[in-house]
């Protein structure tokens, strides 16, 4: 066995060696071959002479008998070099020469391929990076969160955070989890000696960092020992804070920082992709059933499924526990609820995943268009090369050799397309990053060029190029060689079968581009509607700031009231300030949720409303319209009176029959708050205001109440200031006034409301819109190019026919019409097919549309017009050129 193998190997090496030798000695071989043939011929002639032929006849007969010398040489040469590198090099050289000879065709084909490859690689890389592998953490796929969903709420999602005792119950009673971690955020105040700064603190259960499994960039992560009683206080810093605030200074590691008044040592700095809920720093905190914090922290619950355990098993397990816990913590559970185990991954991405898949589909269409275009160009070229192929075939080139040659040419094109495409996708990824997607894509996901994505698009392009590049070789199989030679390659007929194929490709392309444009058009219209939509409040010229109080101070409602009663008049007195108010949230988001009861009204369902804690300036700051009654007065706010202003939706839902003013509403949640509960929270309705968006800009408003902020000390507080000029120009004045009241109060999250809306409400639809528009316009350009090249090519082929027609008296219009008819028929067919396809397909983007039907006739109509116009232009120019044909020249071509 072994010897056989060795023998084979030896044999193989031997043959390879001989081939190499023959390769090196090619010239000698050629010379020798010619000499041998000459010798053979002469021998034959001599023999013929000896047989008694005349000299001339002897020569002729010998030659005739010998046959095609070129073929013989080719066959012999092939024998020496078949499968060898030589053929490849020769083909490459020839292919490059052929491509160079036709720079227009080549650059167009390369550019088209590059566009397709570049765009596809960019988007598929993003899909891979964002959706398939966004997290640097260990075993991300097995990490799940619990969601308690209120079934009376039409919105998806639900509560996924728990107070410590409840959290611990879930952790202890569940069987399906390998490990459980918790996260809760809280302000951390850093005293640098020069002043107090506010950081976003992330408190984690001590096992969190080993659960996530990402090593620190410098130092170490949080360990269980850090939370032991008596352990020295330590914290771990995020890369973001390290870079932004400390200039990436490595020497701060190990130093002690005064955090919340206590010296705390910095033990580690995490790498950039370790985000984990995006705080500035992480501190270990042991979760306790009792103690002062027990009901104050709200922990996000994350669990790792046991290996082999399914989400369904965990779901059943948790469902049982949740039903039991709903008895122990009745306040935390809605009347009817369902429990869901959601992958952590899904809970963070939500709808954006669908948007990204739509974009990926769109870019796939673009790649298809690009490939069809290149296919079309190659087919057109194939017809033009019929003559060349016939000659080469007649000269004795074998089919394999021709196919090899054409393949090499196609692959050269694909290679060129890839190189340029890589440049495109490099630029594309830069552009994508510049779209500021960081508000809706977690920072853990880094968009980078993905090799698999590149290979995929490269493969598609290469296969197309190869497949359609082979078309010229087909004729050597199917067709009579004589025909193209005789025809002169300029006739009216010729390549009919391929003509049909090209027409089909054009129709296909036009249809695809129509689908793409429809998608882009719908997104655009939806976006415009979104931006033009009446928010119910005026976001222009509003400055906002969150004002966290120093730890341990301003704990009571009275203290907070004292602060704001000093601050608000100061702000109003600033030149350029029109109005100012205290607030707990920023529009288009309303206040906290609560169950309510209306005195004297029975209801079986739970009634839910939002409630905002504000000062009397809230309504004028946001420019809300009063519909009935009046808004809060300064005295009512100052006296913490139990009065309420409600919005229109509130009236419609709960106060339907009867006069709203004077009705009494009980806000149950205020009673049961752990911090600063409100005794007997029954409020008298004193006014009704117009609806304003309070669940984000896309959702209809929810019932909302506006209560004096002085009734409780709970909830975060901040300010909104309406200015007459640019809001940010007043930031320094506002800060000065705040610090004039108390230097210990930090300003965080400052900005203008308009910018806030842009970032958080319009950024995601804009992301889809920009990408879709780019793809749709590139697609349209490619399609126009495709139609143009086909029609121009047809005109070139028909020069002869047009010449005859014109010589016979056909007018310009007739000629233009003849050419146009053919092109417009294809475009029309494509538009029809595309429209049908759009009808079928646009449903998938319905969830990304707002206020526009996926079959919006206006958009689809406009898209049809655009495509038809582009198609018309693409046909018109070659048609006009056709009329410039000089009949004499056309006929002389023969």
């Amino acid at each position: 066995m072994m010897t056989r193998l060795l023998q084979h190997l030896f044999h193989f090496v031997w043959r390879l060696w001989r081939r190499m030798l023959s390769l090196l000695r090619r010239r000698k071989h050629e010379r020798e071959m010619e000499e041998e043939m000459r010798f053979h011929l002469e021998m034959q002639i001599e023999q013929n002479l000896a047989a008694g032929m005349a000299a001339e006849e002897a020569h002729y007969a010998a030659r005739r008998q010998f046959g095609n010398q070129t073929w013989l040489k080719e066959a012999s040469r092939e024998m020496w070099s078949l499968n060898s590198i030589e053929t490849l090099i020769q083909d490459l050289r020839f292919g490059a020469r052929m491509l160079m000879k036709n720079p227009g065709f080549t650059s167009l084909a390369v550019l088209t391929l590059a566009l397709g490859i570049g765009a596809t690689t960019t988007i598929f890389s993003a899909v891979q990076n964002i959706l398939l592998d966004p997290f640097p953490y260990k075993d991300t796929r097995r990490v799940v969160a619990i969601q308690i969903h209120d079934t009376s709420d039409s919105r998806p999602g639900g509560r996924s955070w728990f107070q410590s005792p409840e959290f611990i119950d879930y952790q202890e009673q569940s069987q399906a989890f390998e490990d459980v971690i918790g996260f809760t955020g809280d302000d951390v105040f850093y005293d640098s000696g020069a002043g107090v700064e506010q950081f976003n603190g992330g408190y984690v259960t001590p096992n969190a960092f080993s659960f996530l499994g990402v090593p620190a960039q410098l130092g170490r992560g949080v360990t269980p020992d850090d939370a032991r009683p008596g352990a020295p206080p330590v914290f771990v810093m995020s890369y973001k804070l390290w870079a932004k605030r400390f200039n990436q200074d490595p020497s701060i590691l190990g130093k002690t920082f005064t955090l919340n008044g206590a010296p705390t040592a910095l033990v580690g700095i995490m790498p950039p992709r370790f985000i984990f809920y995006d705080p500035d720093l992480w501190i270990a905190r042991a979760m306790e059933r009792g103690g002062p914090r027990a009901n104050r922290d709200y922990w996000i619950f994350l669990a790792k499924l046991k290996r082999g355990a399914s989400a369904e098993q965990a779901q059943a397990d948790i469902e049982l526990i949740a039903r039991r816990l709903a008895q122990s913590y009745p306040d935390n559970y809605p009347k009817n609820f369902s429990v869901r185990i959601v992958s952590w991954f899904d809970s963070l991405f939500g709808d954006f995943r669908k948007a990204l898949y739509t974009i990926a589909a769109a870019v796939g269409l673009l790649l298809l268009i690009a490939c069809s275009n290149v296919a079309n160009m190659l087919l057109a070229r194939a017809t033009a090369r019929e003559k060349e192929m016939a000659i080469r075939s007649a000269m004795g080139a074998s089919r394999i050799r021709l196919v090899g040659q054409l393949l090499t040419e196609s692959l050269l094109l694909a290679l060129g397309g890839t190189v340029v495409g890589c440049l495109f996708s490099y630029a594309g990824i830069k552009g994508l990053v510049a779209l500021r997607y960081d508000n809706f894509i977690p920072g853990e996901a880094q968009i980078r060029l993905n090799l698999a994505a590149l290979l995929f698009s490269l493969g598609t392009a290469a296969i197309t190029a190869a497949l359609f590049g082979l078309a010229p070789a087909l004729q050597t199989v199917r067709k009579d060689l004589v025909e193209p030679l005789k025809d002169g390659g300029k006739g009216v007929g010729g390549g009919f079968g391929r003509g049909r194929m090209r027409n089909a490709l054009v129709v296909f392309e036009v249809a695809l581009s129509l689908v793409l444009l429809s998608g882009a058009g719908l997104l655009m219209r939806s976006f415009v509607k979104l931006q033009q939509m009446d928010l119910g409040f005026n976001p222009q010229n509003i400055l906002f700031a969150r004002l966290p109080f120093p730890r341990g101070q301003y704990a009571t409602a009275a203290e907070k009231q004292r602060f704001y009663e000093q601050l608000l008049p100061r702000l109003r007195a600033l030149p350029g300030v029109v109005a100012a108010t205290e607030t707990t949230t920023l529009p288009p988001y309303g206040g906290s949720d609560s169950d309510i009861d209306v005195v004297g009204k029975a209801h079986t369902e739970k009634w839910r409303t939002m409630f905002q804690l504000c000062s009397e300036g809230y309504f004028s700051t946001l420019q809300l319209r009063t519909i009935l009654g009046r808004t809060l007065s300064e005295t009512e706010v100052h006296g913490a009176r139990k009065v309420a202003v409600v919005n229109q939706t509130f009236v419609n839902k709960f106060l339907g029959n009867g006069y709203p003013i004077g009705q009494m509403v009980k806000v149950n949640m205020l009673e049961s708050m752990p911090d600063s509960p409100v005794k007997d929270p029954v409020f008298e309705v004193i006014g009704v205001i117009s609806d304003a968006k309070n669940q984000g800009i896309q959702e209809p408003p929810m019932p909302e109440m506006f209560l004096p902020y002085t009734i409780t000390s709970a909830f975060e507080r901040g300010i909104m200031v309406r200015t007459s000029g640019l809001p940010l120009s007043l930031l320094n004045d506002v800060r000065r006034e705040i610090w004039a009241v108390d230097r210990g109060v930090a300003l965080t999250l400052t900005g203008s409301l308009e910018d806030f809306l842009k970032r958080y409400s319009y950024a995601e639809p804009r992301f889809s819109l920009v990408l879709m528009s780019v793809f749709a316009s590139v697609g349209l350009a490619l399609v126009a190019l495709g139609v143009f090249s086909v029609i121009a090519y047809t005109v070139a082929r028909q020069t002869h026919e047009i010449g005859i027609r014109m010589a016979l008296g056909a007018g310009r219009t007739a000629v233009v019409w003849m050419v146009l008819r053919r092109g417009l028929r294809l475009v029309g067919l494509g538009v029809g097919v595309g429209l049908l396809a759009s009808f079928a397909v646009m449903r998938v983007i319905a969830n990304q549309l707002w206020g526009v039907s996926p079959r919006d006739p206006l958009t689809l109509g406009a898209v049809v017009v655009v495509v038809a116009l582009a198609g018309f232009a693409a046909c018109y120019f070659p048609a006009r050129r056709a009329t410039k044909v000089d009949p004499l020249v056309a006929l002389r071509v023969e």
Binding site: E35, E36, M37, F39, M43, W71, A75, S76, M79
Partner: protein
């Protein structure tokens, strides 16, 4: 006089057999086969030379330049050791094949 198409393997065998005694040039090989088969098998140059080059590459025959009977430079082909082995193998299998065919033809 009808020409007979022959398979490549058969052509190789015939050429090898022709070369088994003395080295010969291409023209002589073609002539010899034609004469020996009473012109039934006429090997065209178009098949002969590629076959010769192929067998040379495989190492069955070796080419050397020599002087022809009419005093001209000609390429002479000589059977190598491997070529002789190859010929023996092919002859043996050809014999088996004809024997088998003959049996069928006799009984049928």
């Amino acid at each position: 006089m009808t020409k007979v198409d022959i398979l490549q393997g058969t052509l190789d065998m015939l050429v090898l057999k022709t070369l088994s005694n003395d080295p010969m040039h291409g023209f002589a090989i073609a002539l010899r086969i034609r004469q020996l088969t009473d012109e039934v098998i006429q090997i065209g140059e178009g098949s002969l030379y590629p076959a010769l080059y192929r067998m040379e590459l495989k190492g069955w025959i070796k080419a050397e330049w020599g002087v022809s009977e009419n005093n001209r430079r000609a390429k002479y082909y000589k059977l190598t050791k491997t070529g002789r082995k190859q010929l023996e193998g092919e002859l043996a299998s050809y014999a088996r094949l004809t024997e088998a065919i003959a049996k069928v033809l006799q009984t049928a």
